[in-house]
Amino acid sequence: MGTSKVFVSGNEAAAIGVKLARAHVISAYPITPQTVVVERLSEMVEAGELKAEFIHVESEHSAMSAAMGASAVGARAFTATSSQGLLYMAECLHYASGGRFPIVMMNANRSLALPWSIYGDQRDSLSLLDSGWLQVYVEDAQESLDMMIQAYAIAEHKEVLTPVMVNLDGFVLTHTYELVEVPRQEDVDEFLPPFDTENKLDFENPKNMCFSSSPSDNMEFKYQQHKAALKASEVIKKVDQSYREKFGRGYGGLVDGYRCDDAEIILITLGSITGTCRVVVDELRSQGKKVGVLKIRFMRPFPEKEILDITRGAKVIGVLEKDISFGYEGTVYTNVNSALIKSGRIIKSYNFIAGLGGRDISREDIKYMYEYLEQAASGAEKECVKFINLGVDTDGE
């Protein structure tokens, strides 16, 4: 195939993906643990490997505003951020999706202040689930590279025209080095043609963009945006399929079920923790336990059908997430349960809140979750929302 292999971090893999996607404009503001991706991109621009304009913006708000400006003239735009930075650009996220700008952004999942923490959890991106962006969570550096390319193909699809946020777990993925296969530029060029859109400021055909609309039309624009995000489900699957055909790697589209076919206990996850779950599933399977793990890749569009399909035979479901919607439960859990309820299926489900503020989630922790679910399946009374690995006693409280 003429591909090459490199030993790089998740951040670096993302940067290589962006280079291969031939982004025209990169605007970014530094924040740990995102920094390396933009450092590498600026090196690529300096070295002339990447013909792009690099804008050293003064804030994340400006990073996304600049990306929208670039996208508005028909350029392929990229930015990357994390945590507080993502929240600082929150206004712009809604703006970009509403403006139908097919920007791709990498987000290094990191906890939110307060207390301050630079370590990983997924509260940043999940708190912006309603921003109109498609959200994908990747598991390793290879998927990170591949998704940068796929993300542009999805975002720029004429029936989607919606920005895509590619989420990498902070440090665990962004800072971990591993083997990555780099596709050939020619192949990527064939897979991802230049960005072509009519939705742009054009001197031949001038436009007024990002306009206001009164209550008599506004809802139609929102409905249209919703339809496009739903439409993305199909496009994501197609893009994944054709990526597999071209590069030999695919990720299952919206979800990736592992040993779920006959599983009675299924743990649902997001992102890089899935890897550890796979290892535990193998171990438990070797002990004869019917367990599986279901990785949600896309939180938006939400893989409702796929989740129902894969969990069809399950007796109990667990949702493991590095997130909590204070005063209720994890957001992924809420979404999963909504899918189950709408389908009319009654199935016990439990929510494991783990890894907040960067706390490690070990194999033992995951084994504990499967045991918990097993006990629940056999009728034991269990708390629905369970914090994993709290370092203190909370009983009787």
Partner: protein, 182 residues
Amino acid sequence: MIEIRWHGRGGQGSFTASRILGAAASLYGNKYSLAFPSFGPERRGAPITAFTKIDDTKIRDRSEIKHCDYIVVLDETLFTPSFFQDLKPGGRILINTAWGERYKEISQDLIVTFDAEAIAQEILGKPVTNTAMIGALLGISEIIPIEAGAEGINNEFSPILAEKNIRVLKKAYEMIKGGGYA
């Protein structure tokens, strides 16, 4: 799976060592590996830990290393006897020191000492011991062939720096093989 933990101070190249070994194993040693630093802010002089996981199949588990096959100590002031609790059965601790005898008193079989700084000073002209310690580690472990280790260095450094560091690597490897360590 072989799990290695590296100890040094910010600026001494511990994370680079973990990465060189990982790259060597992945790109040239026909294995899979993960290399990662202790997560958090990087500050010059602060104690740093780094990790390398090496296996024959793709490594899915990204959680912290709890038990190590090898603990490599680039800066001996960071060594504490608590390290023994972090070893797998049969695991060993490799320490960069000019005073090997001191550690013999602590443990005869769990600690291997090696004067990496002497080699680094001799060939590089500065006390950067990470490549010497990789050489010593490969000498006692044979995780991957020494030639793969050399390629790992080529992958990391510019040609001139790589050439010197490969000399360091090989010298350390041969010395420890020949039992010529402190």
